[in-house]
Symmetry: C2
Subunit: 477 residues, 2 copies
């Protein structure tokens, strides 16, 4: 492990976090709130970052182990510095609370320990939302620029996402591609902010809810979440949650000459559309029995919000009939497309697993036939299928063990199951004690820290975080 | 598909079912109950079987497709003829009820639609228990003589189970091996019957509960299940549930000169022991807070009963704290060892998956290192791992979809989840509306048939049943 290389790169990350604090500082001043809870952490964070960057010289290039350390520690460091404004403002009762909320922000989970959001300073709520947006952008970088270069499996995933050029030749182009994707992320965000502003939200509210949407995060400034706003605002949020759940490389292809073919010829996108459509249709009659108006909007909103792992709500869906609640739990395990800001298991993985299951059946009755998974994207080599199956098992296994860890806190079975699914899947609210009208405040500090790590584990697709716990990773070389 | 070959072999199976009915007939006469509900089906079943066997000439050898049809239809046919005594005795309210109960018996599930078992004729209860025992024996045959010869994947599983001779050379020895295993099954069953008799049960009760134990089934003659008997009886049942959950080929090895090394050198057995020990220890303090006496016995009984997928109970564990109930749900997904009469995912698969997960982690930080899964049994080639991962995904996927199918019946989420886990895992009772003090009677006929097929799907390890739904399977050749 080349510790110095890791520290130097983390220094740059810390600078970015510090500079970002200028935005909540602006809103705090604008709304005549105390400015020091942002000014002091900003200075401290930027200076620390600069110090690490200038005084620790990298001791070699980044290899696999360093890359894992940078990614894993990067999110941890971001949370530790990002929580400073929360600490100084006195919004939270404990360090664990502030850490939980910041991690929930950066991992785009959207689980909160705040019992009343509307009494909190606007600057704090803005920074809380902004951690989502930075985290969402971080996912884009990770997915496209960093992780894709590390393991053969992930490289193949990348190859599948950005067809055309051979994966080996992609390396020099990653920086350029990443730039285009960032630009898309920024442009989509600005568009949503503008639309929300035109729909009647203040610029501040528009920004906060764009952060929650585009990062598929879920932090709102309102206790009633998006339920506090007009139906026009709700439809805008639905649209952008949907867009944020799509593989961002499809936007790149769209702009790069493929136009709408980029979408219609992408199996994962079609499957994603299919899931949203089918479950909206299945839920519709159930929801129609609960509400008198806005049935379609309420149904589609919740299906899209949960599937994309955003976690916004327009109603307390924990009060729905158990059939509807069961469907929501199922959707919690699906997640957005690969290469989106959405979390959980992800649509692409489900698609590959289902294809593999079908092939297995056919193979059983014709054991001598040679069958291979093929798709327009060149998706589905043996190795990739195997990686996805391993991921699936480890995801379910960690979920099961985590439920056993959460249960002794005294929560009921449904709360325990959805707490784990909602944190590892980066969704936010679940059912029972952590329903959309509830929050995570009642958990003890130890559980809050555990759940924070579960969010991070889910966000970094499990392996990166698990690797950090292996002693071998930290051996000097 | 050579239909005639299939029918001819099914004929032999039907004869066996018919001949077995002589035993409940005996008890019916012994207890002066109506004998016709057994005598008529016995004659009809035997004659039908003989007819099919003598008049339909096999039209060729058994290939993969025929084998699947024989296995899948075999259990269906067994259930259809096996339900005749239930129908004629008037014990059940509908055909669906009788079908459900018989399928629950043959698949060694132990889920019941009877609301009061103790008012039912003794002959019927005996036949109900006997379907367990025949089904449990069927598993032995399937596992060792039939399925093992079909697919390369299963052949490897077999190779792993019975080390020593090369798999290719096993075919001629299968009949002999199967005989030894049957004998073990019969000897163990007679031993348990004797012990239960010595512990004070009537011979009739001893037989019925031996059937439920050795087949890891769970049908009892008492509404309170094993809770109706003394603590000595309960410990005997614990011991034999434990023995029934072990891979039967280890008994073969034990007798074949390996002695206790057969057990101590078998990783799956050690892992099975470990799971039972660890979860008993974890549960102990929780159970100690609920009961004043018999804490150890109650704890161990329930852990062993659920893990082996037997489903007997000595108490209403649905009244336990949610932490304990959560652990039981977790155990429902583990199951017995491969090659035992236990169902669910099975210990050997979990072991392989966990090993694979650990290897994956190590591989990530040392991508160039060549690592392979190895065990004393030669377990763990690439193909086998891949097959187990596919199985795991399909098992979880069918479970998830089945929960969505069960929910519209109006049950709550916990009932829905455990109904599916308890039927596909061949356990029997679950939590909520199907807790150990409850039953499956309240489900509509459609759901009862669906759940019957779920039991069969679990019993035949999924693929065999799914294959039967493919049109290709039934093409003429």
């Amino acid at each position: 492990m080349r510790i110095k290389t890791v520290i130097s790169i983390l220094g740059q990350l810390i600078i970015i976090i510090g500079v970002s604090m200028v935005f909540p500082l602006f809103w705090a001043i604008y709304y005549s709130e105390p400015a020091l809870p942002f000014f002091i952490p900003m200075l401290f964070t930027i200076l620390t970052g600069l110090g690490l960057f200038y005084f620790v010289k990298p001791s070699g290039e980044v290899r696999e182990r360093e890359a894992f350390a940078i990614v894993g520690l990067g999110w941890l460091v971001a949370a530790l510095f990002g929580m400073l404004p929360f600490m100084l403002s006195g919004t939270f009762n404990s360090v664990a609370d502030a850490f939980f909320e910041t991690m929930s922000g950066f991992t785009t989970t959207g689980a909160t320990v705040l019992e009343d959001i509307e009494v909190v300073d606007k600057g704090i709520i803005f920074w809380r939302g902004m951690t989502h947006w930075l985290g969402g952008m971080g996912i884009m970088v990770l997915f496209l620029a960093l992780l894709s270069q590390i393991t053969p499996g992930r490289m193949q995933m990348f190859k599948a996402e950005v067809p055309g050029p051979k994966a080996e030749k992609l390396r020099p182009r990653v920086r350029e591609t990443a730039k285009i994707l960032w630009t898309t992320y920024v442009v989509l965000s600005l568009t949503q902010t503008l639309l929300l502003y035109l729909a009647g939200l203040s610029l501040y509210e528009a920004f906060v809810h764009t952060f929650g949407t585009m990062a598929t995060g879920g932090f709102s400034s309102q206790n009633a979440s998006i339920g506090a706003f007009s139906s026009v605002v709700q439809w805008i949020v639905i649209m952008f949650m949907f867009l944020a759940g799509i593989n961002f490389s499809l936007y790149y292809q769209f702009l790069n000459g493929k136009r709408f073919k980029a979408f219609w010829r992408n199996e994962e996108f079609l499957f994603y559309m299919g899931i949203l459509l089918v479950f909206s249709i299945v839920l519709l009659p159930v929801i129609a029995s609960v509400y008198d108006e806005g049935v379609l909007r309420t149904t589609v909103f919740q299906v899209v919000s949960i599937t994309t792992t955003t976690g916004f709500s327009t109603t307390d869906f924990d009060q729905w009939p158990d059939y509807a609640r069961g469907i929501l739990v199922f959707l919690m395990l699906i997640g957005g497309c690969a290469g989106s800001t959405g979390g959980s298991i992800k649509v692409g993985r489900w698609l590959l697993l289902i294809k593999c299951g079908i092939r297995e059946l056919l193979q059983l009755i014709r054991p001598r036939a040679v069958m291979s998974l093929k798709s327009a994207d060149g998706l589905g080599t043996q190795e990739m299928t195997s990686n996805v199956m391993k991921f699936f098992f480890i995801y379910i296994f960690i979920t099961a063990i985590s439920i056993l860890i959460v249960l002794p806190s005294g929560v009921d079975l449904i709360t325990a199951f959805t707490v784990v699914a909602a944190t590892i899947g980066n969704i936010g609210p679940g059912l029972g004690l952590i329903g959309p009208a509830q929050n995570y405040a009642f958990f003890g500090d130890g559980y809050k820290v555990f759940l924070s790590f579960l969010m991070l584990t889910g966000r970094l697709e499990i392996f990166t975080i698990l690797v950090l716990f292996l002693p071998t990773t930290w051996k000097r070389s």
